[in-house]
Subunit: 438 residues, 2 copies
């Protein structure tokens, strides 16, 4: 099949993520029709695929595209609107009033487009989203050329998007239906949180998840208040409630998972649930520190999420990698936990597994789609370089990303977006800033 | 004195840091002979200083140069050499053997020069250093045009630099003497740590500090082991030991200050001691989380440090600002502590105060030296911008720094270093990497 290889990307280092810890020196990735055909030494690639287009990355690490396992992409429009506030003050007095007043399909489209630009420039090729008007987010992701999993959001509260939980579900399912032929898009059920979703709605979510074979993406055990409120209203902690409702399973992506008893860690492990760890957001909103070292040791699959830009204030998976690695060490008092390669795995293959996409993305493995990110490690702040894996997590930042491809298509080239126009994005951001600030 | 203004820097926002929380829109800083002459509206500056050179920064925040209150600059050469290891394994099996084998004046000069390049590109204009061969670090800082406080390091162990504590002190004092006419350099006493310095040496340090009116810079209460070892050897915790030795006072910069009893927080406050908070290093080495919210509420003056690049692995004060703000919220369970403006104060005026340099640097105040950093806030990942102060801490990174001045002299211009040559730095780093890795 050598004749089908149309593009060869040569890099100083290729880090395939699977197998873990492997760093291939002076290797190339050969791409055929948007898929990874082979990973091989540069010299061999030049001999075998002389007719293919060639991209040379002489000081770069080539890695799988990063995956943001939890975000509310459109909330970029509220980035930095209200910092340094307690969670409920932040939500009730700042975020929710803006959402009530302004959120629309256009808002979601424009905010998500801005998020895509930010994420792509930061080496993120796929995001798992939860927000109103998912069909508008889908349009933005497609315009940006990004891969996305869109949440079929469900919440009991009326909004400009839907009137009640059933209306959310049917609108989300319709969005899913209208996008089913888009190869870059997938969907998950996204019941908002234990305190905003009823048992009856959770049961419908469980039914759809099973019928449609979709993951379920939910904020879970984020704050002590959430757990206490559940104990008051349901006489159960949220995880036990979801267990009773049949929602704990290998399709569940538990976002945050900060406040867990050892028994709850065991339940997540036993049922094959995934965790979307969002360290920046958990710290910024003072929710706490998730017991990531323990979850990891118990075999729970953990990915990384940025949460929305209103509580982070970045959609920066490099920042989450570094913080996850540092925080797990500091919180567990063990400097050896979450080594660099494990954290890079969280941001790639683990997240792909949580989304049920690990047959397609998450590692540089022949047969998978060519979703890839190149990071230039030639800079004074990255010098010297003893171990590129260490640099990716501890020293480099998203600003060192130079190239990004999704399905082999170039979306960032020498740090420039190929499909999106920064001036158009700036104009959209300015438009919404004026309306939000008013 | 209008005639003496030779340069006017116009910015979208000028954030003087003193007074706190002030954000001046469309203001300019007028500079005369390397000092800040006046901060005033752009239009007024154009009228009053028509002959001065003009720099326009239409999307930028102009802030005081950041100050790195604790580093071992030359350790850039060991960046990423040995990650994910416990502190004593890291020191004894990786860092100390390299230091024993290779550290020399040339090593320190080259490593410090690389550190200066990294720090300048990240908006840092001044650093407080502790390492062997401080005269070599001084030469590098001067070559880079940076301001530095150099530690007169003292430790009981023989090294390639000095044979015993007395030898360290006399060599450091000689370095101080040889640099005393350099306006950008100052010195402090730098007894390494409670577990490596004897009572007799601490007494000499206290004497010199008092005679020479110099700050004292020491690793203090970094780990539980350090505290336990002191209790075993001295029947005292380190802070109580330093109190007895006369070292607690407004000249003391306590680096790390992670493991503190409420009584010890009180002692630091009562004696006017300063803390150099190094959140990345404390997490990465699993030392713990410093009680910064409490220290701050008790009135202890806190600055930020990166520590060395071998345990961070960045000399990035933007990263420390963000982490300090997030971690204090997460660890104290209060989202309102350490708001953005307070953290920017830590990285500027507070650190200047700790170094005894607050009459010269740390804020954009007429009469102070023009040590300044410009941050371009026009990027998709910084858009929209409701509050530039928030963006500086939560959303921006060192990559958004475009211009840096020290005493009005341009050291970074459109992200390019004006005095240092990146190719030369890369060659030096490669040279040492080969020798270290062997």
């Amino acid at each position: 099949m050598a004749s089908t290889v149309d593009h060869v990307i040569e890099a100083r280092w290729v880090i395939p993520v699977e197998p873990a810890q492997v760093v291939l020196q002076h290797h190339a990735v050969a791409i055929a029709a948007g898929r990874i055909h082979e990973v091989l030494p540069i010299g061999e690639a030049r001999d075998r695929f002389p007719g293919a287009r060639r991209t040379e990355l002489p000081a770069h690490a080539l890695i799988p595209g990063l995956i943001n396992l939890h975000t509310h992409a459109a909330m970029t429009l509220m980035r930095g609107l209200a910092d340094d506030r307690a969670l409920m003050d932040w939500l009730q007095n700042h975020i929710w009033p803006v959402e009530t007043r302004l959120v629309s399909a256009e808002f979601v489209h424009d905010g998500t487009l801005l998020a895509c630009a930010e994420m792509l420039r930061g080496g993120v090729t796929c995001f798992n989203d939860m927000y109103f008007f998912p069909e508008a987010a889908a349009r933005a992701a497609l315009a940006a050329g990004m891969r996305a999993t869109l949440g079929i959001i469900t919440i009991e509260m009326r909004s400009s998007y839907a009137s009640d939980a059933g209306d959310y579900l049917s609108k989300g399912l319709a969005a899913h239906d209208s996008c089913k032929h888009e190869p870059l898009l997938s969907f998950c059920l996204a019941p908002h949180a234990p305190y905003t979703v009823s048992d009856a709605t959770f049961e419908r979510v469980a039914t759809y998840a099973s019928e449609l074979d979709m993951p379920v993406h939910i904020h879970l055990h984020e704050t002590e208040d959430e757990v206490r409120e559940s104990e008051r209203a349901h006489k159960l902690r949220p995880i036990s409630r979801l267990l009773n409702l049949g929602l704990l399973g290998p399709g569940l992506i538990a976002v945050h998972a900060v406040h867990l008893t050892p028994n709850e860690v065991g339940l997540l492990a036993e049922h094959g649930c995934h965790v979307a760890h969002c360290p920046s957001s958990n710290l910024k909103l003072a929710s706490g520190i998730a017991p990531v070292a323990t979850l990891n040791e118990r075999g729970v699959n953990i990915g990384l999420g940025t949460d929305g830009a209103a509580s982070n204030n970045r959609l920066d998976v490099f920042a989450e990698m570094r913080l996850a690695a540092l925080l797990a060490k500091g919180a567990s008092a063990r400097a050896t936990v979450l080594p660099a390669h494990a954290v890079l795995g969280m941001a790639t293959i683990n997240a792909a597994r949580a989304l049920g996409l690990d047959d397609r993305i998450g590692s540089l493995t022949p047969g998978k789609h060519a979703d890839m990110t190149a990071v230039n490690l030639d800079a004074p702040e990255l010098s010297p370089c003893y171990d590129p894996l260490s640099h990716l997590v501890y020293a480099a930042g998203r600003e060192h990303v130079t190239h990004v491809w999704v399905e082999g298509k170039s979306l960032v080239e020498d740090r420039r977006l190929t499909l999106l126009d920064p001036r158009d994005l700036a104009a959209k951001a300015a438009h919404w800033q004026t309306r939000i600030a008013n």
